[in-house]
């Protein structure tokens, strides 16, 4: 056996390495070692990001093609590890708190495992590996959600999460079993694509697709598979919520794209086009409608992220390289914007324990910089220029309309109209911080250094990701290199 092929699995190996290191330090070092645990992880993740980005790939496929590492997946992994880095930085203060002190190693290890799972999920080109990745990305999260041992909400969130997660796994597996029936005996994506093209349409395939969509929809929290989202986000520790809202969503979205476009692209108009329309419209609209009446910031962000997921999946509908690029770009921007917002939420929660939107009233008086960062994050999420969110939104709309289909055009119309509602509730936060005349409820405080770094990076990202186009170009080239033919490109 040629072990050199595992060189292609560099990202996973790195994560594994970090995992081992954290484990060893956590197990064998004393208090001093435990202190540097989080910073170490953060720095290592950052290095990993750079490594994934610059170290040339030592091969394309591993395990007979079950695992593929190409530029697009590596780019996606980079995005995820940036997000991971930011989350770890943000979690630092919470992790260092007294309640958590003894278990911070576990926290980081679990996080790293999920990251590993996500990497696998992204790179998987075979459903077996995909399921393994998916499960290892989602099961540890249940433990993480339950991490706040002394808080009942944390447990409730965890049980809701795990039950729904298992249910969705069951549905997904059921769907996959039907897919298997159509696959000609192979669960490779390419083989399935081939047999789906040749095969006849049948009701069973529709059920299979609907179930697969539901299973993935759970991870992405698409309506109506999203109902766990708000409860879990609310109950989970804030850092975990942040993690859930961006990373697992990002990985799932990428997988969603690969599976539906690469595997089932041939039955797009026959089978899943209208399903996707229904799901996207429902996701954006229901997410918005729920978000506008939330008072708890974490719940608010939960529904906001539901609605954002709808926009992310919009990229799938383009079904071409442009769509994938825009989707990845959207995820990247979403990572910084959402984590920016979560940074503020979690720092305020850590310092004062306040989490309701009304607690933010008059925040600008006591914490102008936090309000400023939060404002930018909200603007970015709402898609307002010159912040990154605007570009990601517009680029995804542009990609979706690239196919020239009238139905998609109208879908974009629905999405655009929904941006108005979303603007409304994002502005509510801004209003609370800046306009509300109430006396400030949150006293002035200084955030920890890690939080500052994380927040500053997020703000930089929010301001510059859109204005600086090389990021998009980089993603685009990555996608183009990975899918030279498979995904027809409209422009050139």
């Amino acid at each position: 056996m040629d072990y050199s092929q595992f060189g292609a699995m560099l990202p996973e190996l790195i994560v594994l390495g970090i995992f081992l290191l954290v484990f060893l330090v956590d197990t064998f070092s004393g208090a001093a070692g435990k202190k540097i645990l989080t910073p170490m992880t953060a720095v290592l993740t950052l290095l990993a990001t750079v490594a994934i980005w610059i170290v040339p790939s030592c091969g394309e496929a591993v395990f007979g093609g079950m695992y593929v590492s190409d530029t697009a997946t590596r780019a996606m992994k980079c995005i995820l590890s940036v997000g991971f880095f930011l989350v770890v930085l943000q979690a630092h203060e919470w992790v260092e708190s007294e309640v958590m002190a003894v278990r911070k190693g576990e926290f980081l290890e679990l996080l790293l495992v999920t990251l590993f799972g996500m990497y696998l999920m992204i790179s998987a080109r075979h459903f077996l590996l995909f399921i393994i990745g998916l499960e290892s990305a989602s099961l540890p999260l249940a433990a993480l959600v339950a991490f706040n041992k002394h808080k009942y909400e944390s447990h409730e969130a965890a049980i809701k999460y795990i039950l729904t997660a298992v249910f969705s796994s069951a549905i997904l597996l059921m769907g996959l079993s039907f897919v298997y029936a159509f696959s000609g005996g192979s669960l490779y994506f390419n083989d399935i694509a081939l047999s789906v093209t040749q095969g006849e349409m049948s009701g069973l395939l529709l059920v299979a697709l609907a179930f697969v969509m539901a299973g993935l929809g759970f991870k992405l929290s698409l309506v109506p598979f999203h109902l766990w989202t708000a409860d879990v986000y609310e109950g989970a520790p804030t850092s975990v919520t942040a993690y859930l809202s961006v990373l697992s969503k990002g990985a799932a979205a990428f997988a969603f794209f690969i599976i539906f476009v690469q595997c089932f692209g041939a039955v797009y108009s026959d089978a899943w086009e209208w399903m996707a329309y229904a799901v996207i419209i429902a996701t954006i609209t229901v997410g918005n409608l729920f978000a506008m009446r939330q008072k708890n910031m974490k719940r608010f962000m939960a529904f906001s992220s539901v609605s954002q997921a709808g926009y992310i999946v919009l990229g799938v509908m383009a079904g071409n390289g442009l769509g994938l690029t825009s989707m990845m770009f959207y995820i990247f921007v979403y990572v910084v914007s959402n984590l920016g917002a979560f940074a503020v939420i979690s720092t305020i929660e850590d310092k004062t324990g306040k989490i309701s939107m009304t607690d933010y009233n008059g925040l600008h008086v006591t914490n102008p910089w936090l309000s400023f960062a939060m404002t930018l994050a909200m603007f970015s999420l709402a898609g307002i220029p010159p912040f990154a969110g605007f570009f990601s939104k517009i680029l995804i709309f542009t990609s979706v309309t690239s196919t020239g289909s009238m139905a998609l055009y109208m879908l974009v119309l629905v999405a655009l109209i929904n941006t108005i509602i979303s603007l409304y509730y994002y502005l509510l936060v801004v209003k609370a911080m800046w306009i509300s005349a109430d006396a400030p409820k949150v006293e002035s405080f200084k955030s920890s250094r890690c939080m500052k770094v994380s927040l500053s990076l997020c703000v930089l990202g929010i301001v510059f990701f859109g204005l600086v186009s090389p990021i998009y170009d980089w993603l685009y080239n990555a996608v183009l290199t990975s899918f030279p033919n498979a995904l027809a490109f409209v422009l050139q």
Binding site: L128, L139, A146, E156, V166, L173, Y180, G184, S186, D231
Partner: protein, 103 residues
Amino acid sequence: MDLSILWYLVPSVIMFVCGVYGFITRKNMVAILISLELMLNSADLNFVIFNRFLFPGSMEGMVFTLFAIAIAAAETALAIAIIINIYRSIGSTEVTETNKLKH
């Protein structure tokens, strides 16, 4: 007697539906976990059936099933742990008790 594939599939689907039904109706979380197990097993069963009937030459379905069983076990373990936690904090494993987070 040559049994058609349906003889196997139908029970599997019934099992699945039972699982769903059980999840929805049972109040005890452990019972819900059992229902989930039913659903997972039905999916596993499907894989095996399809492998055996449609693609007897290969083993992919079987292998998949093995992995799925392992994953199901992990899931159950985790769920049980969380249920125990819940029991500790509210003294009950009724699913109806755990609906503080809503709307």
